[in-house]
């Protein structure tokens, strides 16, 4: 096991745009909104940034290819800028690139920016033609909700959960996130909802109704990272450091091999095991103060709570119904409102989650502030349950 990057890199500053249907904004407007806040928070000038990573997933509907759009938007001074795309983990990938650059010594200060301008397609939901020439000929005609909905049928079958019980637990996932999002001025959806509204919503892909699905929105988020030493030299006192960054990617076993039953994410389990080892966490249910997981759909969050080893397999549905993941529960989840309320501008989401962990750890989360959080975990899941990329980032107070 390599030594990892625990506490070797600190977050110097972060920024996050208002998420939502930003009819007033192009991608570069959103980038500037997030970056301005980030730069101010970091207390540095653009000229001090030595390398940058730029994440965006469906570039054909907004900025186009390459890292040039970021460099142009921020007038970066001819530094190395890399564009990354790795499904919904793209934002966390940008963060990973910047953190690794600092950890390796290649850069003292590095920037990660993610953006996605989704609301210029003319329809709701994500565009779905991303398979490639060969897969386009064989892949099922699947939307994102359709792919993830199948977790529910498989989970019910495996754990003997009655459909109505699971549906209620899934409803609580969304009710909880909306309660959190209602307290977040940057969230797209800031209204509380009740269980009946979720249960009675129109069906999108069985058994996922409208309120089981996250929103689709525009947004951007950014992070500037450096070493703890430089951060202190720059005057930072309370440091939020990176404890672990892990990524696990499907290799075809789920989609064409044997053994996977469709009720969980093989990748998330692998990434979680490695991330906890890297961060020195042995009992996540006790040691993780809060998490932002990839709640693209209620069922995704539900099974992910198990894949992150916070709930025991087959019991997350009960934990949700018991309020364990509520703001005042054992391990608050989606305390900023999650994808559910922020929507999912793909390239930005991972960084948006980290933004909330960072704010919470520094005690700056206003009405959402949790009592004394020390460790925050973020998780992205991109692709489909049978064919995906799962990323986990753990951040915390220095020394925690």
């Amino acid at each position: 096991m390599p030594a990892g990057i625990r506490d070797r890199v600190a977050i110097l500053g972060m920024g996050c745009s208002k998420f939502g249907e930003r009819w007033d904004c192009d991608a570069d407007d959103l980038i500037i909104e997030a970056y301005e806040e980030c730069l101010k928070d970091a207390g540095i000038e653009t000229s001090q940034i030595e390398a940058a990573w730029f994440s965006t997933a469906i570039e054909e509907i907004h900025v186009g290819k390459s890292a040039v759009p970021l460099s142009v938007a921020l007038r970066l001074p001819y530094i190395p800028v890399t564009r990354v795309e790795n499904y919904c983990a793209s934002g966390t990938e940008a963060f990973r690139g910047a953190v690794y650059a600092v950890a390796s010594g290649a850069a003292d200060i590095a920037l990660a920016v993610g953006v996605e301008k989704l609301k210029d397609t003319g329809y709701g939901g994500l565009p779905q033609n991303m398979a490639g020439a060969v897969s386009n000929m064989t892949w099922a005609n699947a939307s994102a909700p359709g792919s993830f909905a199948q977790l529910a049928t498989a989970y019910q079958k495996k754990h003997g959960v009655k459909p109505e019980d699971l549906k209620r637990a899934m409803a609580q996932v969304s009710v909880k996130s909306h309660a959190n999002g209602a307290k977040n001025p940057k969230a797209h959806l800031q209204k509380e909802i009740d269980t009946d509204a979720v249960l009675n919503a129109p069906m999108i892909a069985e058994p996922l109704g409208l309120f089981d699905c996250c929103g689709v929105s525009d947004g951007s988020a950014a992070a500037i990272v450096t070493t703890p030493e430089i951060a202190r030299k720059l005057g930072k006192k309370d440091l939020v450091t990176v404890k672990a960054l892990q990524l696990a990617v499907s290799n075809g076993i789920e989609s064409s091999g044997e053994g996977w039953d469709g009720s969980y994410f093989m990748t998330t389990r692998k990434a979680a095991e490695r991330a906890y080892a890297e961060a020195g966490i042995t009992n996540p249910r006790e040691q993780v103060s809060m998490f932002e997981c990839h709640d693209c759909f209620s069922i995704t969050e539900l099974v992910t709570a198990e894949d992150l080893y916070i709930s025991k397999e087959g019991t997350a549905w009960k934990d949700f119904l018991d309020g364990f993941f509520d703001a005042d529960g054992g391990v608050p989840a989606q305390i900023d409102g999650g994808l559910k309320c922020f929507g999912h501008p793909i390239g930005a989401s991972g960084l948006r989650m980290l933004y909330e962990m960072y704010q919470q750890l520094l005690g700056r989360a206003d009405k959402r502030q949790l009592a004394d959080p020390k460790i925050g975990l973020t998780h992205n899941l991109g692709g489909f349950p049978h064919h995906n990329v799962s990323s986990i980032a753990i951040v915390g107070l220095e020394g925690a």
Binding site: A133, M137, Q150, S256, H386
Partner: protein, 486 residues
């Protein structure tokens, strides 16, 4: 002796209720009232002449075509491609190999019977068997009588010289440019002339002449005919022709109008397939095909006729598992007879990279994955490195065809967001007996009709139609396995 060595057929599951059509169109065409009884078969949105022909072919030859198969013929006037040999696509889907004679036959309702005669007449010069397919996905304008009279379907005949189940006794063809209907190049629909003229000047004059000529050539008499197959849309025509020729009226077969309508080029062969499924040894069968003249051919069943069983249950099974469709709008939509607002999601470009398709033709059209020769793991798609993490062998896989491997659904959903011509679209993780899995589209399922563990079988269907370029993408989908759920 040349003859039929096997048979099969396929009629799509959906049966449009004629009453529903008449209720919708009666205001415009009151004359339809007399046609309101019964039902007609209609293709699902993902079916066409090619997919139906493949299904009929599978019914006929089973999982693997006979080793001595040398040719495949496909007869239809509604082939999806005007210039891309359709029979070759069918051959790939049926895994018939590439050293094969492939022929499309078209341009007449008689293409099915004429082609059959041609193959049987040439049989003596061949060293192997021939798979003969016929299919039609009838195209008719909305609110006409043809819409009610026609139906969709396909048939398959395996032809050879050994172990025949029906011996070919002889044939006669009459070629007359009698234009009861026609369809011009690049036209969607037929143009029809008056039925009474077709009956009196067409059927009643041309067919008897052919019957006389046929029986002059063979040593059986009209009175020996046990089964007479003659598709004709006009009521009473086959009966009157039989009577005039001295063919017993008990021989005249039901034209299936009540249960499926008339499937064009395929119809005589569908009726023949059905008759063979119910035949006894020693029966004389007369088949008459119609269109710019007529084809007549005679068969005599052998003792082997009762031992041949179509792999998927034959025409009888297809006919028995219909699903009543009472929504005429769905028929209009599936047949592109109405402009629908499909939404922007439907605008996704569906271009096919032809060079990619060529490289992957066995994977996509033939539905072949791989089997690891080191550990035996089967997998789709075939890959350079075995998917079994305990094996991981390189370059170890041989072709493994999944088309006929029984499967079940492990997880599924009904997706109302993605564009589908028939929402919600069903798909799910399909796992195959003996290993292998695929996130596959499901077809021929109804809302509420899917559950984890339900038995499925794979079928060759249209995946997406590239309307912009006039191309159809075909692939395999999972459908309820009627052999297990019936």
């Amino acid at each position: 002796m040349a003859g039929i060595t096997g048979f099969g057929g396929y009629v799509p599951r959906l049966r449009l209720q004629r009453k529903s059509v008449v209720e919708a169109n009666g205001w415009f065409n009151p004359g339809l009232a007399g046609l309101a009884k019964g039902e007609r078969s209609m293709c699902n949105w993902d079916e066409d002449s090619l997919t139906m022909a493949v299904e009929a072919g599978r019914d006929c030859i089973g999982e693997k075509g006979p080793a001595d198969l040398r040719a495949i013929y496909l007869a239809s006037t509604t082939l999806p491609f005007a210039d891309r040999q359709n029979a070759t696509v069918a051959a790939t889907a049926l895994d018939l190999g590439e050293d094969l004679k492939t022929v499309d036959l078209t341009s007449s309702q008689r293409a099915g019977t004429s082609g059959l005669i041609d193959v049987l007449e040439g049989m003596g010069e061949r060293d192997g068997q021939v798979l003969f397919l016929a299919a039609d996905h009838r195209q008719t304008a909305a609110s006409g009588a043809q819409e009610l009279q026609m139906g969709d379907g396909a048939a398959a005949m395996l032809l050879g010289q050994n172990n025949v189940i029906a011996e070919y006794l002889g044939s006669h063809q009459v070629s007359v440019d009698f234009v009861d209907h026609y369809r011009g190049q690049n036209r969607d629909f037929d143009y029809n002339w008056e039925e009474r003229w077709i009956r009196d000047e067409g059927y009643f004059k041309i067919v008897p002449r052919g019957i006389d000529a046929l029986f002059a050539k063979v040593d059986v008499a009209p009175s020996d005919v046990d089964v007479m197959i003659m598709p004709a849309l006009i009521r009473g025509v086959p009966q009157k022709i039989a009577k005039g020729a001295g063919i017993p009226d008990t021989a005249v077969q039901d034209n299936l109008h009540a249960v499926m309508g008339e499937a064009g080029t395929a119809h005589a062969l569908i009726m023949l397939s059905k008759a063979l499924q119910n035949a006894k040894p020693g029966q004389v069968i007369l088949v008459i095909g119609w269109g710019q003249g007529c084809d007549l051919m005679l068969f005599r069943t052998t003792d082997a006729v009762t031992s041949f069983k179509p792999a998927l249950g034959g025409v009888e099974s297809s006919l028995a598992r219909g699903k009543a469709e009472t929504n005429y709008n769905r028929y209009l939509a599936f047949n592109d007879l109405i402009d629908r607002d499909k939404g922007i999601r439907a605008e996704t470009d569906a271009q096919t990279a032809l060079s990619t398709l060529y490289r992957k033709r066995e994977m996509v059209l033939g539905f072949k994955g791989g089997k690891c020769t080191k550990c035996g793991t089967v997998q789709y798609p075939k890959a350079h490195i075995c998917v079994n993490p305990n094996c991981g062998a390189w370059h170890s896989q041989e072709d493994y065809r999944f088309s006929d491997v029984p499967c079940t659904v492990q997880s599924w959903t009904a997706d109302g967001l993605t564009y589908s011509p028939d929402p919600p679209t069903h798909f799910g993780m399909v796992t195959f007996e003996g290993g292998g899995r695929l996130m596959a589209d499901l077809t021929d399922v109804d809302k509420g009709g899917v559950e984890v563990g339900m038995p499925l079988r794979m079928v060759f269907r249209i995946k997406v139609e590239d309307e912009r370029r006039g191309f159809k993408k075909y692939f395999w989908k999972a459908a309820p396995d009627h052999r297990k759920t019936a």
